[in-house]
């Protein structure tokens, strides 16, 4: 897709967005899942439950791939990531100033 088509697609169809599908109706997976080793071929891959837990980025996902909605804690952390980062920097600065003053006196 060239730049003009990409621009028109984004203008007419819209920018990327995420939509909630709901809870999947499927047979429950066992809670303990690990590395899947298919009998055909020798490739090894993480099962879905572990992938959702361990692989934080979804940039390498195939387009149109369904994925699990992140949990409540992770959503809260993502929403407040900037504030948490600023708080960390602030704490670091306060700590540096404090120990600087201590060593100065």
């Amino acid at each position: 897709m060239n730049d003009t088509n990409a621009f028109l697609t984004q203008t007419i169809v819209g920018a990327p967005f995420s939509v909630l599908l709901g809870r999947p109706l499927e047979a429950g997976h066992p809670s303990a899942q690990g590395i899947e080793v298919p009998l055909h071929g020798g490739d090894v891959r993480l099962s879905r439950a572990w992938k959702n837990w361990m692989v934080l980025g979804s940039a390498s996902d195939q387009p149109g791939q369904l994925r699990r909605r992140p949990g409540r804690v992770r959503r809260w952390l993502e929403r407040h990531a900037l504030a948490l980062a600023l708080l960390g920097l602030f704490n670091l600065m306060v700590s540096a100033i404090f120990w600087g003053l201590i060593s100065w006196t």
């Binding site: 809870r23 999947p24 429950g28 387009p63």
Partner: protein, 146 residues
């Protein structure tokens, strides 16, 4: 303790998914329609429809008639008429049919794989599309005699 499974989300990236066509809310298209690339339906679509890509029927969108989709189907709206029979509408999907918690289908749904979500309303039949069903003789393209 009964633990509910986590919910699924789908990121719709029109450029990455090649969804280059859109029928906006309030629009009505009818007849012999062919779409090159994916299609997002927010309005109403009816007739003999062919989509060479993914089909996304958005919440409020309606699709009726004979539909062939070469990619995946994501159903958030309605497939078929409300109270209509399964013969009035049929959709053949070469990929996965994904019926979300707001999706309603009264037509016949044929797909390789089906993913249903809690609250999805599948009123019509579902048939699995097998590998052998994708024979060239079933394709609509007719080669001209030499």
């Amino acid at each position: 303790m009964d633990v509910k499974p986590p919910q699924d989300i789908l990121t719709i990236d029109p450029i990455a998914m090649n969804v280059v066509n859109r029928v906006a809310a309030g629009c009505q298209l009818r007849g012999e329609l062919s779409f090159e690339g994916g299609l997002l339906v927010q309005g109403e679509l009816a007739g003999n429809i062919r989509v060479n890509g993914r089909l996304i029927i958005w919440s409020g969108g309606v699709v009726r008639g004979r539909v062939r989709v070469s990619g995946d189907l994501y159903l958030f709206g309605r497939l078929g008429d409300a109270g209509g029979s399964a013969h009035d509408t049929s959709l053949e999907c070469q990929g996965m049919a994904c019926v979300s918690n707001t999706g309603i289908s009264t037509g016949t749904l044929i797909a390789r794989r089906l993913q249903l979500y809690e609250g999805a309303d599948l009123q019509g039949p579902f048939k699995t599309l097998k590998q052998g069903d994708n024979l060239p003789v079933l394709q609509d393209t007719v080669t001209a005699p030499s």
